[in-house]
C-alpha cells in the first residue's frame, strides 16, 4: 500500500464539498482511503488517527489530501480525479427556483390565495377533516363526498352557522355559485332565481325547466339530502336562504327538498316569512306539487310567462299490455316518477321504494311495475356514477326491452358539466329497432355542453319520446299502458 499526503496552501473549500468528494474518491478501484479536508485541528486529529504522517505548520486554510492506495499509480489517478472534482461546476446552476409545491391541505392553500370557497370530494370517512379545515380557514364549503357520518354533518353545520359560513352537502352533487357549475351542474344563464336544494337531480330538473322559459339562476345551493331531517334541523337550508336573501342579484328564492321532518318544515316556512324576498317552497312527495309544477310557480312569482315544457318525438302509439319499467340515474327524478306512477297503478317496486311499497331482491329482478335508481349508493360503491358511466343501465335497458312483461320503458337523461359527454348516442343505439316504447325525460339547458336539441334528436331518431319535464314523461309513459287506463 502507498500512503500519500499532500497539502495545498490556502486552497479553501467548504467541508461539505470535501466530504462529498472524499466519499466519491474512496469508491475508486485500488483505493482504500481518501480523505480530503481542510487542515483544522479536528481533521488533523482524524487523519493521524487513521495513521497518516502529517507535515507540521499547516493552517485551517490549507487543504490536506490523504490517500491510502494500492500503488503509486492509483494514488496519482486519485489526485487527478480530485482535481477534476474540484473544478466541476454544479449541473443545476441557474435552476434556482424550484417553484412552490402544491399545497398539502386546504388550510395551507387558503393561506396562499384569496379564496372564499372549497370543493371537497375526498372519501367520506375523511371528508370531515378537510371540511373542518375549510371552515377554520373561513371558507364556504361544498362537500361532494357521500358517506359522511351524520354526527359530523351536524357538527360541521353548527360550526358554519356560528361562523356565518355555508356548508353545502355532504353528498351535494350539484351546485351553481355565481354562474359557476360545481359537481354535476347544468350551464345556466344569470337570472333572478336563487335555489336551495336538498336534492341534486331535483335542482337540475328545476334549473332546466326554468331555462326552458328563459329564466336564469344566480345561485343553486345544494345542502345535502339530510339537511331537512330532524337531526340536522335544516341548518344549511336556513343559512343558504339568508345568503340568497342578502344577494342583490336574487329576486326570488326557491327551496326544494324531499318532505322534511315536520318541525323542520315549520322552521323553514317561518324563516321564509322573515325574508325580504318571495320564497317558493317545493317539497316533493305524495299529494304535493311535482318539480314541473314548482317551476311553474317560480315563473309566476317572477312574472315570467309559463309555457309547458317541450316534448320531442312522434305521436304516442296505442296503449299496450305489460308493466312500466323505470330506469333512472337521478334519485329525485326516480322518486317523482314513482309517486306519479303509484297514484295511477298502485303497486310500484324499487330499490329505493316509496313508503309502503315493495323493495327488490339483490339481483334487482323486476316485479310488475319496477323502478331502479342506478345512482343509489348500493350501485355506485366502487364504480362511477351512472351519469358518468352508463354501462350498468344500458345492460338493464337491453334486458327490459327484451322482456315480454315490459310494456313501456321510462328513463332519464341528465346533461351538464360532469355528466357523460354524449349519453344519448349509446341509449339510442340500444333503443333502436325495439318494439317497446321508450319515454325519456331529458334534463338539460340550452347551453349544456352536450347540446340539448342534439341529444333529443338522437333519442327521437331511435324512436323514443322525449320530454323536458320528468313529470310529463312519466304521465305519457303511464298513458301508454293499458293497465293504467
Amino acid at each position: 500500500m502507498t500512503r500519500t499526503v499532500q497539502v495545498r496552501r490556502g486552497a479553501y473549500q467548504d467541508s461539505v464539498s470535501l466530504m462529498l468528494i472524499s466519499r466519491e474518491l474512496s469508491d475508486r478501484p485500488g483505493v482504500a482511503t481518501v480523505q480530503v479536508a481542510m487542515a483544522t485541528a479536528l481533521n488533523l486529529d482524524l487523519l493521524s488517527g487513521l495513521g497518516f504522517d502529517l507535515p507540521e505548520g499547516t493552517s485551517p486554510n490549507d487543504m490536506v489530501i490523504a490517500i491510502d492506495a494500492a500503488d503509486p499509480t492509483a494514488a496519482e489517478a486519485t489526485v487527478a480525479a480530485l482535481d477534476e472534482a474540484l473544478s466541476r461546476r454544479p449541473a443545476t446552476a441557474g435552476a434556482l427556483d424550484p417553484g412552490a409545491p402544491p399545497p398539502a391541505t386546504i388550510g395551507a392553500a387558503a393561506r396562499r390565495v384569496d379564496a372564499s370557497f372549497a370543493l371537497i370530494s375526498t372519501p367520506g370517512r375523511t371528508a370531515t377533516i378537510d371540511a373542518a379545515d375549510a371552515l377554520a380557514a373561513g371558507l364556504d364549503v361544498m362537500i361532494f363526498s357521500d358517506n359522511v357520518a351524520l354526527a359530523h354533518e351536524v357538527a360541521l353545520k353548527r360550526w358554519a352557522d356560528d361562523a356565518g359560513l355555508l356548508v353545502m352537502g355532504p353528498d351535494c352533487g350539484t351546485a351553481v355559485v355565481g354562474g359557476v357549475g360545481l359537481g354535476f351542474a347544468n350551464v345556466v344563464r344569470p337570472g333572478p332565481v336563487g335555489i336551495v336544494a336538498a336534492s341534486g337531480t331535483g335542482a337540475q330538473q328545476l334549473m332546466s325547466l326554468l331555462d326552458g322559459v328563459g329564466l336564469g339562476v344566480t345561485h343553486c345551493l345544494g345542502v345535502g339530502g339530510r339537511d331537512l331531517s330532524a337531526d340536522v334541523g335544516g341548518r344549511s337550508t336556513l343559512a343558504a336562504m339568508d345568503r340568497l336573501d342578502a344577494d342583490a342579484d336574487v329576486d326570488t328564492i326557491v327551496v326544494i327538498s324531499k318532505p322534511p321532518a315536520p318541525e323542520v318544515a315549520e322552521r323553514v316556512t317561518s324563516h321564509a316569512r322573515t325574508l325580504g324576498k318571495p320564497v317558493v317552497i317545493g317539497y316533493l312527495g305524495v299529494g304535493r306539487p311535482d318539480l314541473t309544477e314548482t317551476a311553474r310557480r317560480v315563473a309566476e312569482a317572477t312574472g315570467t310567462t309559463w309555457q309547458p315544457p317541450r316534448r320531442w318525438g312522434a305521436d304516442a302509439p296505442a296503449p299496450r299490455g305489460g308493466y312500466l319499467r323505470g330506469l333512472f340515474v337521478g334519485g329525485t327524478l326516480c322518486d317523482e316518477a314513482m309517486i306519479l306512477a303509484a297514484a295511477t297503478v298502485g303497486r310500484v317496486a324499487s330499490n329505493i321504494p316509496l313508503a309502503g311499497q315493495p323493495g327488490l331482491d339483490a339481483a334487482l329482478t323486476s316485479v310488475g311495475h319496477t323502478f331502479i335508481d342506478f345512482g343509489d349508493d348500493q350501485l355506485t360503491s366502487g364504480r362511477p356514477h351512472p351519469m358518468i358511466d352508463p354501462s350498468l343501465r344500458l345492460e338493464r335497458l337491453r334486458r327490459e326491452l327484451a322482456d315480454p312483461a315490459c310494456g313501456v320503458v321510462l328513463l332519464d337523461v341528465v346533461l351538464g358539466h360532469g355528466a357523460h359527454q354524449d349519453p344519448a348516442t349509446d341509449l339510442a343505439a340500444t333503443i333502436h329497432g325495439s318494439s317497446t316504447p321508450v319515454v325519456a325525460s331529458l334534463v338539460g339547458t340550452r347551453d349544456d355542453p352536450q347540446g340539448l336539441s342534439d341529444q333529443a334528436a338522437r333519442l327521437v331518431e331511435a324512436g323514443a319520446i322525449v320530454h323536458a319535464s320528468n313529470a310529463a314523461a312519466t304521465r305519457e309513459a303511464l298513458s301508454l299502458l293499458e293497465v293504467a287506463r
Binding site: 482524524l46 396562499r112 372549497a118 344577494d247
Partner: protein, 468 residues
C-alpha cells in the same frame, strides 16, 4: 377562526380550493375558475377518527394562531452565565439529559458515555468502569433538560458543576438554560469521556465560564433573538450552521472580556476557543428557541408542537394543547455525511434537544437560507428552497422577525401543526449532528433526519381525548 359576518359576504366561486377528484377541479378550470388543488392523500392510517375529532375542535385555529403569536413575540436575552448548581439547583449526582425520560437500561451509547463522563468530571468515580457501574446501580438520578426548562445539544448531559448560559424572556416571564458548547469531534455531548474531554470541561468550568459570566454581567442583557434574526440573513440556519451567530455573539462579549482584568492569556484562550468553534452559538439558539416554544405551551385546543427532542433511543414531542406530556417513537438514523472513515453502521440513532430549533422554525425549516450546508444529503440549492417551502404547509404561521432574504424576506415557517403532518404524511425536516453509537466515540457525522410518525399519531390521540 372566522366570526359571524353580518350581512353575510356574497357567495363566490371565482377562486376555489379543491381537494379530491381531479375531474371536478378540471370541470371548474374549463369554466374559467381559478382552482387551487391540494395534493390530497389519505391521512396516516388509523388516525382518521382522532384527526376528525381534533379538526372539529373549534378552538384549534384560534389556539394555534395564539401559539404562533406567543412564539413570535417571545424575547430571549442572555443575562448570566453560572453553574448549574446555582442556576437549576442541581445537586452532585443529579443529571439532566436530552430528549424524553429514559432509563439506564434503554439509554443509548452516547448518552451512557456522556453520563459516564459527567460522573468522572464531577469526581464521583475514578474510572469509567466505576462510573458505569454506579450509573447502572441506580445511585444517581437524571431527568430531561426540558423538565427544568433547559435544553441540551446531543446527549445534553448537565451536571451540577457545569456552567450554564441563562436566557430570559421578559415578555412571558420565562427562563431557559443551556450548557457551554465544547466544540466538535470528541466531546462529552457526543458521548466521549476520554481524559482530554474531561480536561476541556475542567477548563470550561475554571476559565471559560467565569470569564463569560463576568463579561455578560458587565455587558448587560444580550438580545439573542436579534442575533438570530441577523444570522438567518447571513447564511446560518441556526442548527447545523451557526458561524455568523457565533461571531456576532463574540463581538458583543469582546470589549468586556478585554477589560475584564483577567489574565490576558486566559482571555485570548477564551476568544480562541469561541472563534474556533462555529457551533458555540447553537447553545444560545437552543434556549432562545425553548423560550419561544415554552411561551406557546399549554394553550387548550392548540395542535402546535412545542418540543421535539431525542435521547438517542426515543424521539419525543410535546404539543401545546396537552402540556408537558411526551409522545414518543423510535429515534431514527440521520441521512448524511460521515467524518473520516465512519459510516452508517457507526451512527447512533438521533439524539439531542437541538430539534427545538426546528420546533421554533429555524434549522431544517430555514434550510433555504443556508445553501452552504444543503449538500449534507447530496441536495442542491433548489432542494433547500423546496424544503422550506414544504415546511410552510406543516406550520400554523410564519415569523416575520426571522426573514429569509432569498425567499423575498418571507418569515420562517413557525409552529408545526400535528394535524398537518398527519394529513399530508410529510414529516418535519431536522438538521442534525450524528453521534457514534459506541459510548466514548464522539461525533461521526452530520445530516438530516425526521421524527418518527408515531410521535404525531400519539399526539393527535392525546389532543382528541382533550378535545371539545
Amino acid at each position: 377562526m372566522s366570526t359571524r359576518q353580518d350581512p353575510p359576504r356574497p357567495l363566490s366561486a371565482r377562486t376555489v380550493v379543491t381537494a379530491g377528484a381531479q375531474l371536478l377541479a378540471d370541470a371548474l378550470t374549463t369554466q374559467g375558475v381559478s382552482t387551487v388543488p391540494v395534493t390530497w392523500a389519505p391521512p396516516v392510517a388509523g388516525t382518521e377518527e382522532a384527526l376528525t375529532t381534533v379538526m372539529l375542535d373549534r378552538r384549534r385555529a384560534a389556539a394555534n394562531a395564539e401559539a404562533v403569536r406567543r412564539m413570535t413575540s417571545a424575547r430571549a436575552a442572555l443575562v448570566d452565565v453560572r453553574p448549574a448548581a446555582d442556576a437549576l439547583g442541581l445537586q452532585p449526582g443529579q443529571f439532566l439529559h436530552a430528549g424524553p425520560p429514559v432509563t439506564w437500561e434503554r439509554a443509548s451509547g452516547p448518552l451512557r458515555g456522556a453520563l459516564i463522563g459527567a460522573v468522572l468530571f464531577e469526581g464521583l468515580a475514578a474510572t469509567s468502569e466505576e462510573a458505569e457501574s454506579q450509573l447502572a446501580s441506580g445511585r444517581y438520578s437524571w431527568e430531561p433538560c426540558h423538565a427544568r426548562g433547559a435544553v441540551g445539544p446531543m446527549a445534553g448531559v448537565v451536571s451540577s458543576s457545569m456552567w450554564m448560559l441563562e436566557l430570559v424572556d421578559e415578555v412571558h416571564g420565562n427562563t431557559s438554560w443551556c450548557s457551554l458548547n465544547e466544540g466538535l469531534g470528541k466531546v462529552l455531548r457526543y458521548g466521549a469521556y476520554s481524559p482530554d474531554v474531561i480536561e476541556r470541561l475542567r477548563w470550561m468550568t475554571g476559565v471559560l465560564g467565569p470569564a463569560l459570566q463576568q463579561a455578560t454581567r458587565a455587558h448587560g442583557p444580550i438580545d439573542i433573538i436579534a442575533i438570530i434574526a441577523q444570522m438567518v440573513q447571513m447564511g446560518d440556519e441556526g442548527h447545523n450552521r451557526n458561524r455568523a451567530g457565533t461571531l456576532m455573539l463574540l463581538k458583543e462579549w469582546l470589549p468586556d472580556l478585554i477589560t475584564s482584568g483577567r489574565d490576558p492569556d486566559d482571555v485570548a484562550e477564551v476568544v480562541r476557543f469561541i472563534s474556533g468553534n462555529d457551533h458555540f452559538f447553537l447553545n444560545l439558539v437552543m434556549p432562545a428557541c425553548k423560550l419561544m416554544t415554552v411561551a406557546a405551551a399549554d394553550i387548550p385546543g392548540s395542535s402546535v408542537v412545542t418540543a421535539m427532542a431525542r435521547n438517542g433511543t426515543d424521539f419525543g414531542i410535546q404539543v401545546s394543547g396537552t402540556g408537558d406530556r411526551w409522545y414518543v417513537g423510535p429515534a431514527q438514523i440521520a441521512d448524511g455525511l460521515y467524518l473520516g472513515t465512519f459510516g452508517p453502521d457507526d451512527a447512533n440513532p438521533d439524539i439531542g434537544d437541538s430539534a427545538i430549533a426546528e420546533t421554533a422554525g429555524i434549522g431544517g425549516f430555514a434550510m433555504a437560507t443556508a445553501p452552504a450546508i444543503v449538500r449534507f444529503v447530496g441536495g442542491t440549492v433548489p432542494d433547500a428552497l423546496a424544503t422550506t417551502l414544504r415546511m410552510y404547509d406543516l406550520c400554523a404561521g410564519e415569523n416575520p422577525g426571522w426573514a429569509i432574504p432569498i425567499m423575498e424576506f418571507r418569515g420562517t415557517p413557525t409552529g408545526i401543526d400535528v394535524t398537518s403532518v398527519l394529513r399530508s404524511g410529510q414529516l418535519p425536516q431536522i438538521n442534525t449532528g450524528m453521534a457514534g453509537k459506541v459510548a466514548g466515540t464522539g461525533q461521526v457525522g452530520a445530516g438530516l433526519v425526521s421524527p418518527p410518525m408515531e410521535c404525531f399519531i400519539g399526539a393527535v390521540e392525546g389532543l382528541a381525548s382533550a378535545a371539545r
